[in-house]
Amino acid sequence: MSTALATRPTQVALVGSPNAGKTSLFNALTGIRAKTANYPGVTVSRREAPIEVDGRPMVIADLPGTYGLEPISPDEAVVADALRGRIDGIDAPDALIVVADATSLERSLFLVAEVLDLGMPTCLVLTMIDEVATRGGHVDTDHLAAALGIPVVGIVGHRGIGLDQVHRLLADIDAWSAPVIGPPAEPEARAAWVDSVARSAAGPLRPDERTRRVDAVLLHKVWGVVVFVVVMLVFFQAIFTLAAPVVDLLGNWVTSASEFARSHLPGLLGGFVADAVIGGVGAVIAFIPQIAILFFILGLLERVGYLARAALLADRLMGRFGLEGRSFVSMLSSFACAVPGIMSTRGIPNERQRIATMMAAPLMTCSARLPVFTLLIGAFVPNRSVLGPLHTQGLVLFGLYALGAVSGLAYAAVVSRFALAGPTAPFLMELPPYRWPTAKAVALHMWEGVWSFLRKAGTIILAATVVLWAMTTLPRATHDVGATPEQRAAHQIEQSAAGRLGKAVEPVFAPLGFDWRTNVAVIGSLAAREVFVSTLAVTTASDERALPERLQTLRHADGRPVYDAPTVAALLVFFVYALQCLSTVAVLHRESNSWKWPALAMGSMFALAYGAALVAHTIVGAIT
């Protein structure tokens, strides 16, 4: 080996189909040193980590899971391009490790054949060899190595069995070679090659009876649907309710820290540290419990094998809207919060459905809209019984949820149909055998979700909070105006940049009935929708407890109520549609690896919000 090559770490890429155990092997080889980044221009992420084998530096890259190297859609081209060194700024690998599930050896050999066609130094790592044994089969790795012309080892990745062999292979990486005679090119001859190689090196497996029996229930026409609904309800409840007390606790700590800073630092500096810095950190960590729970449950369901079954059950329904089965889980998570919902789209294999799902996620009614809806419905919708326990207030709230869900699915269909034209890979989903995951694998999955959120979106959310604080605080009012602290605060925010902006855009929002006080609260709610309530309390010189009554009695100078029925209806509908959340925009940017999609989402959802609010204002104005 030349000295020029020795100065640069040897690049080794892991290639394999989804579920082959590639990630387990990657984690076992590298620990948690992995760096995650996106490939340029696509939503597919790339993980790599430096390791050292016998003093020799190497970089192990975990390529996205793939069933083949002939790309159909642009996002699939990433693996083929990365292997051939055709991606700017990313070196071509020096050697390849094909990771294949030993329990479906034949299928894996088709991918092996395509990798061998590349003519690069290659080895094959067979995973799940313990399952082969329990199902009465065997794999002769020496025989397989002779048949393929490359080194072969068998491992049980998540239990660390056989890893020493992989390390030994890596230490001997210069001896890897491309086979002299590759597999035949013509499809039928290749299939015959696959069958003969598999038959010569491995014995037949007994059918996986456990998986068959479990599937008989979980994919059953009735019981399968019942289990699906129960699992999804538990999943949703967990994100919604398990996270809440932790979020409250963290919120209390943040509030205490803010108050401490405010009381120990002078004036504006105290406000900056308390509200912008500590408040911004608080805004970021408020998402962590939900994201941790989401990634824990998704990691568990994925590794057990249920996620593929759930996707199978929901696929028909989601397919009608240009989505696929796995979109269901993301949409459901988005009812708690669009941030984890958008992050969960990583599991959707096709870019088209992935983008369409993340674009529709913000229209699902998230928990941050609830305080806004509760305030307005509580203050302005008379609570009459309609039919037994059904009350008008509940019906209005349900109607808003339904409006969001239906609009979200329609929006996804439009995005998928018009904004994402182009070829898509076919729906092809492997149903892996049911397996017990290890706690370590699930914990690592959860950690990666939380860490990538903090690193990728945390800084943007923090910056947005600081900017919004500055807008609602600066410039300072020159005189204190007003008799009470509430009136002085209202005067202060009126003089701020947000206050001036709120007044400047009054003509735009006048058709919806919003005055400057509402506009400022709408601007403030970009930090998080529930901030609408606290900001409105400031602009109306009230406090949160007295706010409903204050809103009911607030009058314009000419005596007309500020919040009449058409305005309230417009405001409710506006919040159903508007992408009034910069955290969502930040995550959308990070997960789509572009500004195009978040910009399109913000623009189109604002237009939808304005249009729908105008319709609501007109209709309610006509009937009241």
Binding site: R107, G224, P426, L428, E430, L431
Partner: protein
């Protein structure tokens, strides 16, 4: 006949895999849907689509549109 028309529980031997408009058929060939291969139709999702097929000891779910690309001869279910 098309693979999508084979009833549940039956087997089929693949005659031909069409490429499809965007070359979707290539992906099917890449995972082993190749002429001469036996496919077992295992079960349909409760809503009627997709369908689970077993090919070379691996189980795949395909939507009807994907299974329509595969031309087959129906056979008795092979004994495992």
């Amino acid at each position: 006949m098309k693979l999508s028309e084979v009833p549940i529980g039956a087997g089929a031997v693949i005659r031909h895999v069409a490429l499809g408009d965007a070359g979707e058929g290539r992906r099917l060939r890449e995972v082993g849907f190749v002429p001469g291969t036996t496919v077992v139709v295992e079960r349909r999702a409760p809503m009627g689509d997709p369908t689970v097929y077993q090919v070379r000891a691996t189980r795949f779910a395909l939507r009807r549109a994907g299974a329509d690309l595969v031309d087959v001869d129906q056979v008795e279910r092979p004994q495992p």
